[in-house]
């Protein structure tokens, strides 16, 4: 009894310390494990594969720099898959903090691998305030919302945009989001303009978006770092997400152990009989 009381009242900082250890150790001693692919990731991959070659697609960087660990591997893998199919890519962001510059960094890093040229094969529209107006405004005219690209070049001076005016010329939208903007891509762009969409999102938001996969509003879904790792394997470019899976496993198991321990203490001390409202 005394033991459980002490365990129950343990300073939370000990727990923080254990978590810290659990996340660092796997980096020093990596344990490889096979990663299986969920149907939602496969569906997304297959849909993109089935697009005709060299169509125009949108890749939306709707995530803050704080969720790079989960979202960036998805955006990277998508670039690999799109460019292998010679797609023209429009990137944009509804995130004021960092969205446009992340789009810039990632595209410029991967473009040389496929000999892609800015302005001909991809363009970064940057950010505009008020996503609701941005999303529905682009349905009429992309130029009315984004007169220039992120660096201030007039869209009319960008060869790739010669034949792109609104959603009608966009064959697919891949939304990478860590927040509710994805809802508006569905309720405005997909519902009103019928552009097929796929979504990569943080693990936090993933459960919510299953409803959109079920209704066909998303063709597929990547959920969190595991989803990113699956997609990395699908496009055969294993990266940070695959590496992180070891530490991920350790911390999950630790948290499960903590839940169990906490509940054992709870029952040992008979607290379950006092019903807390």
């Amino acid at each position: 009894m005394e033991f459980w009381k002490r365990i129950e009242g343990i300073d939370r900082r000990w727990i923080y310390l254990i978590v810290g250890i659990a996340v660092i150790v796997p980096f020093l001693l990596p344990i490889p494990f096979p990663i299986s692919i969920t149907p939602e990731a496969q569906m997304l991959y297959d849909h993109i594969e089935s697009l005709p070659d060299s169509v125009t697609v949108m890749l939306v960087f709707d995530y803050y720099p704080s969720t790079i660990a989960e979202c960036e591997p998805m955006a990277r893998s998508a670039l690999h898959q799109f460019w292998r199919k010679d797609c023209k890519i429009i990137t944009l962001s509804n995130i004021p903090l960092g969205g446009p510059s992340m789009a810039e960094t990632v595209t410029r890093e991967i473009a040389p691998e496929y000999n892609k040229v800015y302005g001909e094969d991809y363009v970064n529209l940057g950010y505009k305030a008020n996503y609701v107006a941005v999303l529905s405004g682009m349905g009429t005219s992309i130029r009315s919302i984004f007169p220039t690209d992120n660096s201030g070049t007039n869209l009319d001076d960008i060869p790739m945009m010669d034949s792109v005016f609104n959603y009608e010329q966009v064959s697919f939208i891949f939304e990478v989001a860590d927040n509710a903007t994805a809802d508006y891509w569905v309720s405005i762009v997909n519902a009103q303009y019928g552009v097929p969409m796929g979504c990569g999102t943080t693990a936090v938001s993933a459960p919510k978006y299953y409803a959109f996969v079920g209704s066909g509003q998303f063709v597929g879904l990547l959920g969190g770092m595991k989803g990113a790792a699956e997609y990395e394997l699908l496009v055969e470019k294993p990266g940070n997400a695959v590496i992180g899976m070891g530490a991920q496993s350790m911390v999950h198991l630790l948290i499960i152990a903590l839940v169990i321990l906490g509940n054992i203490g709870f029952f040992m001390l008979g607290k379950h009989r006092r019903r807390v409202s």
Binding site: V23, F27, P96, S187, Q192, S215, Q248
Partner: protein, 211 residues
């Protein structure tokens, strides 16, 4: 690694560790990081709005002949009336404009973009039932949707048949929240991995250049 790059890595490491230090206890390092953080993010908006809205969307098109954009420009400026108590009521007009347009977009996008397709999809699950498991899944979905809607029905006391449905609803909701919790844990841990990756590889890695 150049001296400058090492400096950059140490700057990041300093602020990362300062913020982590709060978990042990509130301290001056944390306070410094916290206050710089607040200032930087406010300053960020200035640069962003200046270029992407005021220059690109207002000033340049206006110079290009779209003179009528002067109206939204004035409306925007009126927002600042907030700061002058005597005329602060003036700022209600631009605010009402923002609310009105957003509300107009919302009514449609919510009812047309969310309610209709989600209803349709719920009926749709029954359509492609093929065998026992499909039937079971369709039942789960239909019962889940309806009982959740009923749980959030406030006009009647939850007794009788309504009460049973609502009870089923809360169980469904808890299953969903459990799944959410699991997924969220996954997400947070991923982000921690990202930070640890930085500290272990970049920061600790930079030691060898210095020591």
């Amino acid at each position: 690694m150049s001296g400058w790059e090492i400096f950059e890595v140490w700057v990041i490491a300093f602020f990362t560790l300062s913020l982590f230090s709060f978990m042990y206890k509130d301290n001056p390092f944390y306070k410094v990081a916290e206050h710089i953080f607040a200032g930087l993010s406010a300053g960020y908006y200035v640069g962003l709005i200046w270029e992407s809205v005021i220059v690109q969307q207002l000033w340049d098109p206006m110079m290009g002949g779209d003179w009528w954009l002067v109206f939204p420009g004035i409306l925007g400026f009126l927002m600042f009336a907030r700061f002058f108590p005597k005329v602060s009521w003036v700022s209600r007009t631009p605010l009402a404009f923002v609310m009105g347009v957003t509300a107009g977009i919302f009514i449609i996008s919510q009812l047309h973009g969310l309610v209709l397709p989600q209803m349709q999809a719920t009926m749709g699950v029954v359509d492609d039932v093929n065998g026992f498991w499909d039937f079971l899944l369709a039942t789960v979905v239909v019962v889940g949707v309806i009982s959740t809607l009923i749980y959030f029905y406030f006009s009647k006391e939850h007794t009788g048949a309504l009460g049973v449905t609502a009870k089923v609803g809360i169980w469904f909701i808890m299953i969903s929240f459990g799944a959410h919790f699991g997924y969220t844990v996954m997400g947070r841990v991923s982000l921690l991995i990202g930070r640890v990756q930085f500290l272990v590889e970049d920061w600790v890695g930079s030691f060898s250049y210095i020591f």
